[in-house]
Symmetry: C2
Subunit: 191 residues, 2 copies
Amino acid sequence: MSPRTKQQFEELRKDRRQAILNAALTVFANSGYHSASVSMIAKEADVSKGLMYNYFPSKEAVLLTLVNDLFDHVVELLRITPGEVLTRERFIELIDLQIDIAVKEPQRWKLYMSLAFQPEVTPLLMETMLPKVTPFMMSMSQYFHAKGYEDPVAAMRYFSASLDGVQMHALLDPDNFPVEKVKQMVIMQFA
Amino acid sequence: MSPRTKQQFEELRKDRRQAILNAALTVFANSGYHSASVSMIAKEADVSKGLMYNYFPSKEAVLLTLVNDLFDHVVELLRITPGEVLTRERFIELIDLQIDIAVKEPQRWKLYMSLAFQPEVTPLLMETMLPKVTPFMMSMSQYFHAKGYEDPVAAMRYFSASLDGVQMHALLDPDNFPVEKVKQMVIMQFA
DNA sequence: ATCCTTTGACTGAACGGTCGGTCAATAAAA
DNA sequence: TTTTATTGACCGACCGTTCAGTCAAAGGAT
C-alpha cells in the first residue's frame, strides 16, 4: 500500500520546499515581489512551475511564508522574552543584533523593507508582525522609562525609527555606509 | 482656416497633463508602481487609456515625471544653496521642514519611499536624486564638522538615516507616531 | 447666418505578450 | 499496481501600448 515510506516523502518534501523558498527569496529580493514571476522562481529553484503549486497554494503564500520565517528568525536571534527587563549590556547587544541582521542577511531584510510600502501586502505583514514585535517594544519603552525619559513611548518610537533608518541606509548603500561607526553612535545616544 | 488658437491648446494640455499626474500620484501611492495599471490611472483621471499616451510616452515616464517634480518641490522648499553654511536655527528649520514634508504630503512621500526598494527603478531614481541632494549632504557634514564631531561624514549619514526612519514611521503609522515629540528629540540630539 | 475646412484632443478596440494558476500525463519507486 | 512527486502545455485575464477613426471648436469664405 505504501511505496516510499512516509518518512522518505516527508524529507523529500521538506528539502524541495526549502529550495523553493530559498529561490523565492532571491528572486523577490532582486526583482521585488510584483515584478518577480512564478516562472522565475521555478527556474531559480530548478523546478517546474507546476510543482510550485504542489508546495504552495499561491505566489502570495510563498511570500507570507518567507516573511513569517523571517520574523521567527529575528525573534529567535534576539531571544526577547515577554516582560524582560533590559540591562544596559543587553540593550546594547540588541542594537548590535538588530543592525547586524540587515547587514548579514541583506536579501531577507530587503524583501521585508520593500514590502513596507506595498499597500496590498502591508496589512498581512502587520498582522503577522505585530504580536511578535510588541514584547520588544514593551521592553524598550520600559528601558527608557527606567532611564528617566519623560515620554518613554515617544523615545521608543524615535529609537526604532532610527534603527529602521539605519538598516535601510545600510541596505541601500552597503559599500559606503559606515555601519560600525553608526552603531556606536546609536549606542552612545540611546544606551 | 484656423481651428483653436495655440494658446487655447496649450492651456488645455497643461490642465489635462496635471490631472493625469495627480491621478497617477494617487494610484501609485495607493497601489504601488507595479500593481497600478495604466487603466486605473486613466479611470482616476477621467480620461481614456489612449490619451495617456498622448501626454506621456510610457507608464515609466509618468513615474519619472512625478519623482522629478517631487525633488524639485523639496529643493524649492528647503532652499539649500550649494555651499551654504548652516546656523543652528537654519539647521533646526531644515529638520522641521524635512519631517513636515512626509507628514503634509504623504502621497508623494509614500511613492518616493516605495520606490527605494524596487530594484528596477532605483537606479533611475538615484540618477535624478543624487545631484539635488548632495548640496544638502555637504552642508550637513560641514555643520557636524563645525560642531566638533570627529567623523562628520558618519554623523551626517547617521543623521539622514534617522530622518528617513522617522519619515518612514510617520508615514506608516500617521495616527500614533508622535511626530512633534520625535522632532524635538531629533533637534535635541543633532542640533 | 450658414457652410466648410482644419486642427488636435480624444476614444476604445485590438495587439502581442506575460502573468498566476491548472491539469492530464508521466516517472519513479516499492 | 499503487502512490506520489513532477512536468510543461495550456488557460483566461490582464498588462502596457498602439492606432484608425471621431468629435468639438474656431475662422474664413460665401
